[in-house]
């Protein structure tokens, strides 16, 4: 299964290396990993796409959370979310095929951002599948160069992923269970999802 995770990380050198290293050292496969700035200059956000079964995903989540410079981990298994990938694609475009390509790009809500004597560059964003479909459609014209950013994602609704918000440390549980009650200061913590799932003895 393909999963999207986001990790809010401290904005300092070495964090990316640490995360990348952890993935390779533990044999997890990354489909894509995107790092960028957030609303808070102290933190960056990584969006990681992995193909993994449930158990591996669980490990990936926990191992990410264990890294001291990783502040918050979230997966989108059970949350409605928006995801986007951005692509620049340079196509061979003889004058005969140019208008067809422009039309296709328009259909996909892409934009032509550069035109040469025999080439066209299209900018396109959207879900990965949409970009994949476009690539297949234009392949016959001849793809000269292609660059994609990889996926970024954000949950729908008012809930945020901000590093400093109140949910900072709820990353041990999938998002759905996270609407949980706040912790009384002296109280016992709530069980983790894993604990909840565990069958108490009969």
């Amino acid at each position: 299964m393909r999963h999207i995770l986001t990790a809010t990380v401290m904005n300092e050198p070495g964090v990316l290396a640490h995360v990348a290293n952890m993935f390779s050292a533990r044999g997890f496969n990354i489909d894509s990993l995107v790092v960028g700035r957030t609303e808070d200059p102290n933190f960056s956000r990584m969006t990681i796409v992995v193909t993994a079964d449930e158990r591996t995903l669980d490990q990936v989540r926990k191992q990410l959370a264990k890294i001291v410079t990783v502040v918050k981990v979230r997966d989108y298994k059970e949350t409605p979310y928006v995801s986007r990938d951005l692509m620049l694609i340079k196509l061979s475009a003889a004058s005969s095929s140019r208008s067809e390509i422009i039309e296709l790009a328009a259909l996909f809500r892409g934009r032509v951002v550069d035109v040469g004597m025999s080439s066209l560059m299209v900018e396109l964003s959207g879900e990965e599948e949409k970009l994949d479909a476009f690539v297949e459609l234009v392949r016959p014209y001849g793809i000269r160069e292609l660059a994609r950013t990889g996926v970024i994602a954000m949950s729908r609704g008012a809930a945020t992923n901000a590093a400093a918000d109140e949910e900072v440390r709820t990353d041990q549980r999938p998002a759905t269970a996270r609407a949980a009650v706040r912790q009384p200061l002296s109280g016992k913590r709530q069980p983790t999802q894993q604990e909840l799932e565990a069958t108490p003895p009969g």
Partner: protein, 638 residues
């Protein structure tokens, strides 16, 4: 922290939402604002309570001008003292000289080693023996890279340790300057956290963070890389030394619902087994382990790192389990209907073939690291938290039950399959040497080991009963660990008997530390089980490589004479009749002493679970010969 001078009132019970992002170095892991799953103790709290019996922060933190006019090196020394550091290990060099200049006044007991690897293992041995973090100070480049093996060793076994390494001036970093190495890059996978300090103003905060990270939660090593301009640079006005760890989680008590579920499972079980690892030592959970075992009549086995957490003289003790564990521990685990893992991580040396592991058992796993849970073995009741706190709560819920038929079964296994060897050679059997050491000391000493057969025999033939008395490299299996770890343990516990039970090949990997032992007159005893082989390698080559002993035979120096050349008492024990006398002489010698025990070469460690086999499919070897009939299958005794 409650007395913090931080402008935003670090430690006050304010939800840290939003405020954290505005303050430059805001609150430490903001107070318990976790919705839901995890208790992240306010670090102030976490530091009042202890990782190993020591306060982590010696004083409140916050915006302070107490460092004004001080250099980085002065700050480092002062803060080490404030954090309760009394001893450190290391080796100088150009890039760390500003710090060494501070050590000149001898406010710290500093041990000059002979190789930085030695410093690392000494700090590790010190930490395991005392529960305090081990401190290492080394220079840049080769000095720092020489600590990689000790860092990896400590990381695998979750040992609190901090390495301060010199680094070239920060403006030279990246230029391939003399003795420059990307030390944070090299050590990242083997540290819990590492830092390159870029500005002396960050140093106080980073030192506080380093101590917190090394000693709390699942402990581990931290490295702090110190460029020369940081250690020579001065702080001119107020800085904030409040730790800033927004991503750091410290699990404390387990969730009561899960503790209750675990207790219910245990109470309902007929054949429970406690399986106790190094985490029980790190969290000082051993009194609770013992009490739970006693109350519930629960047979208890430990891992290599858990040795000492349980009293092996108890009839409930199953001794060590796993690849070279006791037959009865392995049988009990395989027959158990409820396996309670405490601070253990289901390492492959413990479980054998995972598919065949504990097939009849429901599994309870108490661990502070959520990533350890269900990593290798699917757990039925996970309890995430500090082992001591979790067991404390569980203790009240455990019902007193006789479980007499299970205990009778365990007793039959114990009688039938004791650890054994045949004393049938002219030379001493290595096991006999360890038995003699155990006899003379009553197991009341701090032991360290190298890695190999002798390590396994030490685990099998010393009767462990005291926590922090077995110091050995479990996860990484680092040969050469024994001698420096013993030196570190002796520094930490100067009035106690410290014995390194070592292999000839392991010993010589770091034997230059004899000079350190001699210089500081540390009365460490070294018992070399000299089989003139990398015995464990020889065993595998004999069993799995048709006896082709490729590069495993050792041509050794005269170890006694070698010790003498360092000014250390060196003895030879070549006749098995002299064993007890030699051990007595070693133990009674007031100073450091090395004894070369000449041992039989062709001896193998049994029981042995070959790779791919289940625990119950172990080769019993000599251990099976004491069984009452020729039928050595566990089933026939059941």
């Amino acid at each position: 922290m409650s007395t913090s001078t931080s402008p935003i009132g670090a430690g006050a019970n304010v939800p840290a939402a939003k405020t954290t992002s505005k303050a430059p170095h805001p609150v430490v892991a903001a107070p318990l604002h976790g919705a839901g799953s995890i208790v992240v103790e306010n670090v102030a709290k976490a530091t009042e309570s202890t990782a190993g019996g020591l306060p982590v922060l010696g004083r409140p933190t916050g915006k302070t001008d107490r460092f004004n006019g001080m250099t980085g090196a002065q700050i480092l020394l002062q803060m080490l003292l404030e954090h309760g550091v009394t001893d450190a290990f290391g080796y100088p060099g150009g890039a760390i000289l500003p710090t060494f200049d501070q050590l000149y006044e001898k406010q710290l007991n500093f041990i000059l080693v002979r190789h930085e690897q030695g410093a690392g293992h000494m700090a590790d041995g010190y930490a395991r023996a005392t529960g305090k973090p081990g401190i290492v100070i080394v220079t840049s480049g080769p000095g720092a890279t020489n600590t990689v093996t000790p860092l990896a060793t400590a990381y695998m076994d979750s040992i609190p340790m901090i390495v301060f390494s010199g680094q070239v001036r920060s403006y030279l970093i990246g230029n391939d300057a003399f003795q420059e190495a990307d030390v944070t890059g090299i050590t990242r996978p083997v540290t819990k956290r590492n830092y390159l300090v870029k500005n002396v103003r960050d140093l106080p905060r980073i030192i506080n963070e380093a101590f917190i990270i090394a000693t709390t939660g699942r402990p581990g090593p931290v490295l702090v890389d110190l460029p020369v301009d940081v250690t020579t640079g001065k702080i001119e006005d107020a800085v904030d030394d409040t730790p800033y760890l927004p991503g750091y989680k410290i699990f404390k008590a387990g969730h009561s619902k899960m503790v209750k579920a675990a207790a219910d499972l245990i109470n309902a079980s007929e054949r429970p087994v406690l399986y106790v690892g190094g985490g029980a030592i790190l969290s000082q959970a051993w009194p609770h382990v013992r009490e739970i075992a006693r109350k519930g009549n629960i047979p208890t086995t430990t891992t290599l790192l858990g040795l000492g957490a349980f009293d092996e003289n108890s009839p409930l003790s199953l001794h060590m389990l796993g690849m070279h564990g006791s037959a009865y521990a392995n049988y009990a685990v395989q027959e158990s209907d409820c396996l309670i893992a405490v601070g253990a991580r289901f390492d492959d040396r413990v479980t054998g073939n995972l598919k065949l592991f504990a097939p009849k058992a429901k599994i309870v796993h108490v661990d502070i690291d959520p990533s350890s849970i269900s990593k290798n073995v699917k757990v039925d009741v996970p309890v995430v938290g500090d082992a001591r706190l979790c067991l404390e709560e569980m203790l009240g819920l455990i019902e007193s039950r006789p479980r007499s038929s299970w205990l009778a079964q365990v007793a039959r296994w114990k009688a039938a399959f004791p650890f054994a060897y045949k004393d049938d050679t002219a030379l001493s059997k290595p096991q006999a040497v360890i038995e003699a050491i155990n006899k003379v000391t009553g197991g009341k000493a701090v032991f360290t080991t190298g890695v190999g057969q002798h390590q396994m025999w030490a685990a099998q033939f010393v009767r462990w009963s005291i926590p922090r008395s077995m110091i050995t490299s479990g996860g990484l299996g680092t040969m050469g660990f024994g001698l420096p770890a013993a030196i570190g343990a002796q520094v930490g516990r100067p009035n106690e008997l410290v014995i390194d039970i070592d292999g000839d090949a392991s010993y010589i990997m770091t034997a230059m530390e004899l000079a350190t032992m001699s210089q500081y007159n540390l009365p460490v005893k070294v018992a070399i089980l000299n089989n003139r082989f990398q015995g464990m390698v020889r065993q595998w080559q004999q069993l799995f490589y048709k006896g082709r002993f490729s590069h495993s035979e050792m041509v050794n120096p005269d170890f006694a004479a070698m010790a003498e050349s360092f000014g250390i008492r060196g003895l030879r024990c070549h006749r098995k009749e002299d064993l007890i006398q030699c051990v007595e002489e070693m133990v009674n010698h007031p100073g450091p002493c090395v004894v070369d025990f000449l041992c039989e070469t062709d001896e193998n460690v049994y029981p042995m679970v070959a790779s791919g086999k289940g625990l119950h499919e172990m080769e019993l070897g000599i251990v099976g010969s004491a069984a009452p009939n020729s039928n050595r299958e566990m089933g026939t005794l059941a």
